[in-house]
């Protein structure tokens, strides 16, 4: 296998200085990329590194702000997915755009020339799926198919258009290992036919296994290119995560108190086809501890939060204990009454009702747990507006929430200020247990540091805090102990001081500790 592009070989697709600005934020910043005919190229990067933005530009979904693209040596602009398809670019999206009520053949027919009969599409799809080892029944309804089978429809749909370049966005994130193996065989067949594959992933082992070259993106920029087979997962992880992440600044030897959250043998099946099932989760969180749970999006973070908060109670009451009491079957208010607080991921529509005032949102969250303070009149539950208003004022002052007017609608606040409010709403109760999911997602740096400081202070005052986050900077800033969630499994917690970025990167990429690569194996 040759790695260098000889001067004679014209790249199938060349990208020069490709930039995409959202406002003043550069999601992709002057990206250069060459894809040779017949190679499987990996595009590696953390969430938010700009991978999706880049491929959306390649497939014509987004238009670049600057830069140029060359297809087989000649400049092109790709204005729509249709133009991309005509050039010979096919795309398999991470979340499928399939019609569940229709059959496989009907789904494929919708994106093809209407003159081709359904019978012919069925035949071609059947023969293609056989040729590439993608077993598929054209007459089956999508609603009856597994996620892996649905992905095959997308692949066959792309292949029917005879593309020269196929882009796969995180294809194995929804597949079982067996389905993934089958997919890899298909990719090797495509490569053998001289087609190119752009393979987007953050799973280091599979990138090493199947890709010829890897391009690493971080913060919208290309930070490295390499032959993944000559790298170790650890060295790839370092390229992905970057070495400029803040050093650990955390007082060692903080005395920890009693166990506040205890989770044992917690397994929860996936609720929807796109959800992740939780597998045998175990953790202890003590008073004074911040347990940070790291992981790449979609590995079960949301599902874990849902069962910890009681939004979805679990069948086994003993699986979750808060302050020693079994609460697996207890709902969210019952857990709040035990002194727990919860901050879900989505600010709008989950943590807060956007169209309602801050004081209303305060009451909605705490009407049960702080009944005495906010409601009067016994069974009539008359709202004590004075008490709610003063509590709202108190929270806004404590967390420095900037707002217009005394009690504005939640939706009128900026993301950072609303986030400060919904975190402050829980902190105001001095919860003895706090679980927060992505506390600073999409929040400006100032608000983020304020929230992180508040979480650290809460733990210092003797509460147990669980922070679920994708942001490694944040995790190192706040964590006493760090665990990593991957494919619905939670690793053992490690003291934050003993973990390196590489170890975390490996755990996040799904390399489990039992077979992690020894440090001595570095090859660079």
């Amino acid at each position: 296998m040759t790695l260098s592009e000889g001067p004679a070989a014209v790249p199938l697709l060349s990208v020069r200085g490709l930039t995409k600005l959202f406002g003043s934020f550069a999601a992709c910043n002057a990206i250069d990329l060459d894809i040779a005919p017949g190679e499987i190229r990996a595009l590696l990067g953390e969430n938010g590194a700009g991978k999706s933005t880049l491929v959306k530009m390649l497939f014509g979904v987004l238009q670049p702000s600057a830069g140029e693209m060359l297809w087989e040596g000649s400049p092109v602009t790709i204005g729509s997915p249709g133009e991309a398809r005509r050039l010979g670019i096919g795309m398999v999206f991470q979340h499928f755009s399939l019609f569940e009520a229709l059959t496989v053949a009907e789904n494929i027919a919708l994106s093809l020339d209407p003159k081709i009969s359904l019978a012919r599409i069925s035949d071609e799809a059947a023969s293609l799926s056989k040729a590439y080892g993608l077993p598929l029944d054209p007459k089956a309804h999508v609603a009856d198919l597994s996620v892996g089978e649905r992905q095959r429809i997308e692949i066959v749909r792309a292949l029917l258009q005879n593309p020269k370049l196929i882009i796969l966005d995180e294809p194995t994130s929804v597949l079982t290992p067996q389905e993934a193996d089958r997919l890899f065989e298909t990719l090797f067949k495509l490569k053998a036919e001289g087609r190119s594959v752009l393979y987007i992933s953050h799973r280091l082992e599979e990138v090493r296994r199947i890709c010829d070259r890897a391009t690493v993106l971080r913060h919208g920029k290309v930070t490295g290119a390499c032959d993944p087979k000559h790298e170790t997962p650890a060295s790839l992880a370092r390229m992905m995560v970057g070495s400029d992440v803040a050093e650990v600044h955390r007082d060692a030897g903080t005395a920890l108190g009693d166990i506040r959250i205890e989770v044992r043998n917690l397994s929860v099946p996936a609720r929807t086809p796109f959800a992740v099932s939780l597998k045998n989760i175990a953790m202890n969180v003590r008073a004074g501890e911040v347990l940070a749970i790291a992981g790449v999006a979609g590995n079960g973070q949301g599902e874990l939060f849902d069962v910890l908060s009681g939004e979805y109670p679990v069948a086994e009451d003993e699986a979750i204990r808060i302050r020693g009491k079994a609460v697996g079957r207890t709902g969210i208010n019952g857990r709040r009454l035990l002194g727990a607080g919860f901050v879900p991921e989505e600010r709008h529509g989950h943590a807060a009702v956007s169209a309602m005032a801050l004081s209303d949102n305060l009451l909605l969250a705490r009407s049960q747990s702080d009944r005495k303070a906010f409601l009067s009149g016994g069974a009539f539950s008359v709202i004590r507006f004075d008490a709610i208003r003063s509590a709202t004022r108190r929270i806004c002052e404590a967390m420095d929430v900037r707002k217009s007017g005394e009690d504005p609608q939640a939706g009128s606040l900026s993301g950072g200020n609303l986030q400060k409010f919904i975190v402050g709403r829980e902190l105001d109760r001095q919860p003895s247990v706090l679980v927060v999911n992505q506390p600073t997602w999409g929040v400006d740096a100032g608000a983020a540091s304020r929230i992180r400081q508040a979480l650290i202070d809460l733990a210092k005052s003797g509460s147990a805090v669980v922070v679920i986050s994708q942001d490694l900077d944040e995790i190192f800033e706040v964590a006493t102990n760090i665990a990593v969630i991957s494919e619905g499994r939670l690793s053992e917690p490690h003291p934050a001081g003993t973990l390196t970025l590489e170890r975390i990167g490996l755990l996040m990429g799904g390399v489990h500790e039992s077979h992690s690569v020894p440090e001595a194996a570095h090859a660079h």
Partner: protein, 308 residues
């Protein structure tokens, strides 16, 4: 005796089948139009007035179709262009239709109507029993059967029908594939209106050839229930329509029979049967996730607002 009952059942069922077929196409595109009753009564009054003025029941049929179709455009404009709430708009359409038709038809109350005459197929109608029942009917009956076949073919065999179903299943995915969601939905809504109008024409030209205010008498609601009962499939509309029609006719005969036997069955109980049957079918359908996914238009009643 049995033949006579069967003939009345056919006459009573045809408007149900027609209105439900139209609503089926509308709902398959993802639009819930609760204004069937209003469109039907508008079709009835337009058909009656046109037939009186021209002397031709066929002009009446045309006017009924146009009346219902144009009236449904109002619904389309409000819900598709202005993205108004479909349920509220549909209810308003019914109320408006009932009032407006009364106004239009006021001068025609009590006039003897023109009955649409049957078209008798020479040889086929000589077949004993079935021939007489099936092949000496009026044009609207033949149209209703042709529409069942045609709509089944359109939805499940033609590419345009596939696109319509795709829109009903997921309008955003359909939009992403380049299908014109709003235009297709407009056409589906108008088709639904035209069918409801034709059903209304059958009422004022065949069933009871005269104009009486509120003469649709809740048939639009039964048609709506019928669509769900048939789980959005045309052949089941035909079967269900005749079942509901037979219940309606059977109710009258059962009343007389029961009275003779000295038993009192509240008429309300029998009138409620179609709705009760629909609830039972809904429970059966929703019990099985698969049948729900495959038959129910997933984006039914949800407004579509394209990005940017």
């Amino acid at each position: 005796m049995f033949e006579a009952i069967l003939l009345t059942v056919i006459t009573a069922s045809t408007p149900l089948v027609l209105a439900a077929l139209g609503e089926l196409v509308t709902e398959r595109s993802g639009v819930l139009n609760l204004g069937v009753e209003g469109m039907m009564i508008m079709g009835a009054v337009c058909a009656f007035v046109a037939a009186q003025l021209t002397g031709s029941p066929y002009a009446g049929i045309l006017a009924g179709i146009l009346g219902g179709g144009i009236f449904s455009l109002l619904f389309g404009f409000l819900t598709l262009t202005l993205v108004a709430n479909q349920v509220a708009t549909g209810l308003a359409l019914t109320i408006l239709g009932l009032g407006l038709s009364g106004q239009i038809g006021e001068a025609f109350v009590g006039q003897p109507g023109i009955k649409l005459q049957p078209i008798v197929f020479p040889l086929l109608s000589d077949i004993p029993f079935f021939g007489r029942v099936l092949f000496s009917q009026d044009l609207i009956f033949y149209l209703s059967v042709a529409l069942v076949i045609g709509i089944h073919w359109f939805l499940f065999k033609s590419r345009t029908g596939l696109k319509l179903r795709a829109i009903g299943d997921s309008h955003s995915s359909a939009h992403a594939l380049g299908i014109n969601v709003i235009r297709t939905r407009y056409l589906a809504v108008m088709f639904g209106g035209a069918c409801a109008g034709l059903a209304g024409a059958q009422l004022s030209l065949v069933y009871t050839p005269q104009w009486v205010e509120n003469m649709s008498a809740g048939r639009g609601w039964i048609a709506l229930a019928l669509v769900v009962f048939a789980s959005w499939r045309p052949w089941r509309i035909l079967a269900g329509g005749y079942l509901f029609g037979a219940v309606g006719i059977g109710q009258l005969h059962a009343q007389i029979l029961a009275q003779n036997l000295g038993i009192v069955i509240p008429s309300q109980f029998l009138s409620a049967l179609p709705y009760a049957a629909t609830i039972v079918v809904l429970i059966i359908i929703s019990h099985n996730r698969r049948t729900t996914l495959i038959n129910t238009p997933a984006s039914l009643g949800k407004p579509f607002v394209p990005d940017r």
